[in-house]
Symmetry: D2
Subunit: 338 residues, 4 copies
Amino acid sequence: MEKADFLKDPVEHIDIKSFDSTAIIEAMRNMSFTAGDIARAADIFNMMINDNECTIILCIAGSTSAAGCMQVYADMVKHNMVDVIVATGAAIVDMDFFEALGFRHYKGIHFVDDKVLRELYIDRIYDTFIDEEQLQICDNTIKKIADSLTPGCYSSRQFIGEMGKFLIENAKKSYSLVQLAYENDVPIFCPAFSDSSAGFGLVKHQSQRQDSHICIDSVKDFRELTEIKMKSPVSGLFIIGGGVPKNFAQDTVICAEIIGESTEMHKYGVQITVADVRDGGCSGSTFREARSWGKVDNVYEQMVFAEATSALPLIVSFVYHKQNWQSRSRRKWSKIFE
Amino acid sequence: MEKADFLKDPVEHIDIKSFDSTAIIEAMRNMSFTAGDIARAADIFNMMINDNECTIILCIAGSTSAAGCMQVYADMVKHNMVDVIVATGAAIVDMDFFEALGFRHYKGIHFVDDKVLRELYIDRIYDTFIDEEQLQICDNTIKKIADSLTPGCYSSRQFIGEMGKFLIENAKKSYSLVQLAYENDVPIFCPAFSDSSAGFGLVKHQSQRQDSHICIDSVKDFRELTEIKMKSPVSGLFIIGGGVPKNFAQDTVICAEIIGESTEMHKYGVQITVADVRDGGCSGSTFREARSWGKVDNVYEQMVFAEATSALPLIVSFVYHKQNWQSRSRRKWSKIFE
Amino acid sequence: MEKADFLKDPVEHIDIKSFDSTAIIEAMRNMSFTAGDIARAADIFNMMINDNECTIILCIAGSTSAAGCMQVYADMVKHNMVDVIVATGAAIVDMDFFEALGFRHYKGIHFVDDKVLRELYIDRIYDTFIDEEQLQICDNTIKKIADSLTPGCYSSRQFIGEMGKFLIENAKKSYSLVQLAYENDVPIFCPAFSDSSAGFGLVKHQSQRQDSHICIDSVKDFRELTEIKMKSPVSGLFIIGGGVPKNFAQDTVICAEIIGESTEMHKYGVQITVADVRDGGCSGSTFREARSWGKVDNVYEQMVFAEATSALPLIVSFVYHKQNWQSRSRRKWSKIFE
Amino acid sequence: MEKADFLKDPVEHIDIKSFDSTAIIEAMRNMSFTAGDIARAADIFNMMINDNECTIILCIAGSTSAAGCMQVYADMVKHNMVDVIVATGAAIVDMDFFEALGFRHYKGIHFVDDKVLRELYIDRIYDTFIDEEQLQICDNTIKKIADSLTPGCYSSRQFIGEMGKFLIENAKKSYSLVQLAYENDVPIFCPAFSDSSAGFGLVKHQSQRQDSHICIDSVKDFRELTEIKMKSPVSGLFIIGGGVPKNFAQDTVICAEIIGESTEMHKYGVQITVADVRDGGCSGSTFREARSWGKVDNVYEQMVFAEATSALPLIVSFVYHKQNWQSRSRRKWSKIFE
């Protein structure tokens, strides 16, 4: 088998505008178990859209972007359903920015000899394949962007803004989350930015410029995100997966309190995850648990225990077709840092 | 709080004819992870429909019927998508037959004081509520049917046939799985029939008639189901949940071999479950594992790891709207036992 | 590869007498998460032992007996820690009785080509291998026992008693659960008895003797188990896995009520399982949920969410070394059916 | 209820030296399922200890330190079983450093009214309680340390080193991971350091010193960890939970390659987690999957799917009592950055 035999079926990203899940969600609303949870999650997300004061924070962990949900997130930005993004470096750089550079993810299988994949320089995420050589081009593009910047401390938000700017000139695919977020002043934060393809490029950048390079200050990220929270009378979380992005976004409420500016708990919360509650990890922790910390209110919250590729498109298609985002004003939070 | 406060939002069963999931399934086909699995499962189920020789065995474990999927199964029988059913007693008696008698399940919550529920005689299945007093009417109806039968050994299939006959005269809701299966000669097997509301009624029946009563012979069930398998050149499994029904249906291949009549492995297999593979339990065991036993072939099989209320309606709606069941001849397997 | 290459490392069953887990359990008692749950489960099991009036019902589903816990269950019977067993047919026949006949389970791997296994007649349970030809000897032994019995309706308990009697004469390994239970008057119930190697043998038996054969009446099982419950002022459940055995044992409380003999809820409850609560399936349902049905009290109950091979030996070793079973009188419930 | 009613049973951390799990692990070695996996994981960890060239990297995500495993990690450093630590900020700051300051975690329950907890300023992690006011003292201690440092860019490793130095003077409990690691030159990295109690303190520090403050450069972390990897001819991963620490440590192999210094894959790998493989998240991804990326070899690797509090103490107690760490030379990796 050759590389091309493994990399022949590109993942096509689902377009939530191309079908209308309204009838399904309406039917699920009167069901129990996960179906009922999905419907309630859709309703709560729609309440966030309808709440004029609400800042909507989208948190992304895991590999849903590689598996076919990349355009869901892009559509959410394009169609004004999200105001701030907190994500893993992998979701933003290895997946979204990577495809913006013209590369693709491929449908594969999970029951495969990984040594063969390694020999062919194919990376696997469960049942999805990636061309490692293309990923290295992505790493190096990050390095190039870093090289072009004035040395100093940057938040990941600032750096990702530079990536958006870069794409305006250089994108092979213009409908990327990074570019759309840049164009619509939706800030993207990656609290563990180095833990990704970006990290490789940035380490290379620093290695070659020992004394004059950029660094990524995650404290600055936290300050900036907290500042947005403090300026938002109302906020809602839409969380995919969990992990660091979830914790980071939830913690802004506490952070504001610590620096002496009291703020409200996140009023709305939706999470789609397969994580388990019982190991005390952040990913599986419930909004009820977050309530004890004073992070998230429990009136309008819903956990959906499902693998996100199966539930997210239904929820977002429903809210898209409700059209309430049309009359919503853009928050343009990136502007406050200019 | 009174009983009526808890039992006010009846579960409405999703109608897979009222929406068309085709566009969603088509989009999911090019995705990875669970979305891709759902699409492939839908395709394989449709292959079963299109295979003129295929006997389709629907296996149901868990409480999806209580949670809003009851009509999905009824529609599958009505619209000729299933030829044999193997299920838990709870799915058939406590849920389907129970609603045929005019009772309902109710949307509830899982974070609740169960002692309060007990005091009000409300039973809870995760976030779904049931009126225990109505369940006891169901138990007693089973007893009445048992009392009316000639003493002797029955397979669960025979007894459930009598339940179908009873409903023709007495149903408050006619569109039940038990009645439709009876009317369309689709046999229903419950290999652990006593492990349900039926068990209560049957124990009461036997207790009152120590010397002259019916009994439920599960060996007879196994013989009958194996007989169907031996008469089916091709067969496919559509499994919800797992458990005893899954194992029972898979085992017919081996059973035929043991009694000296070789038969083919199940050619198609689809399962939707949240069960875990790692405890060696039947529910989570993969079709690959079943291949080692010679039970299920591995060319057209797909496990979908999801809570079934979220995935089943999408899959069945897709196959329903493909319309290929229209030209399919009914197997009428019940007839062979007359 | 030949068959012998796959079947070379027999599973050796853990001997909970050979190590003392007391210090570990004592340390876990002051921890949180699953460790704390394991310690509390051990304490509750020990309370059952110390409660002079308590009938202890052990429920077994899943394949822990194949994976190395077979002797744990045998030791529980030998050392008077259990009074009644409710199990899957597989646990009792395919695994315990199978090894009593001199056969073994083998350590294997789960990442393997199952077609190769099939060609070699090797069955796989996750990472455990079985010689299919030996299993067929087991099937046929069941048939032989059935052939030797007076035709009529048997409960699974009665039939398994006959298996115990058979082993006294014929066992290659005498320390089996089936034999020890027989010798100590501990009844074993398999509510879905046909769903196992026993089913194969019994179908063959019935096929060859159309007019004069035995049948297995699961209603009788339910009556008998309920009778034991009614005679037990206090009862406790020790559940591995879940499934039909769990539901069956829990339901005896309701069954007693239905036939007009009120009885107490199960006072104690311990369950070790990996099942998920969210699909409404019985395996994952909590004791809290069972409380709403009036089945299990919630003062002394503990769910342990773990794969049982990792937690069960710790719990039983602790209770064994506490030695309180020494002064406990044997319930000998089998005697009431003589 | 008052605060003291909830905070009365402090979590006592398990001492793996106080019991010897050798007999249990030896017994588990011949079992299948999770028991067998635990034994193999213990054996592989012991191989790492015995490999004179191996650098052992301990990765910690999740809340096991809060739940009673805190001393396990401290013992691993004290007794020379680990050379590098990569962890979440929460594990290091909110839990370990927090207890070093004299505070405690408390055993609680997960079925509780979280609004009541909030009113009492009690934070909940599943079934574990924390005094929020004590956590804020921890935040402020971090701020004080930050205030005392020369402004500039620090890796988290450098900052955590300062925390260790601080504890030598100020610890109320001296046997903490942070202090022991400092004393034994075991570097600790937190790639998402701000995502913790440290983040609160550092944001406060930066807010008050807009122009002259420290920042935490996660790129520097990645460079330093990669440098250690490049200097280690052989390396092994011992991973609890997954998340960012797992990915970060695995990625060092690729990072070395990117900056032009080829290095070997991690030779050994052990992970204990409850994460699911099917959502493509890092936490649940198998070592086989990592093999496709060229990160971890697959000869000596074992995933253990279990909640870590139940399995980790058995594994580490086994390796501790094998005593092979006695003759192992300390790597003292912190020294290379002096």
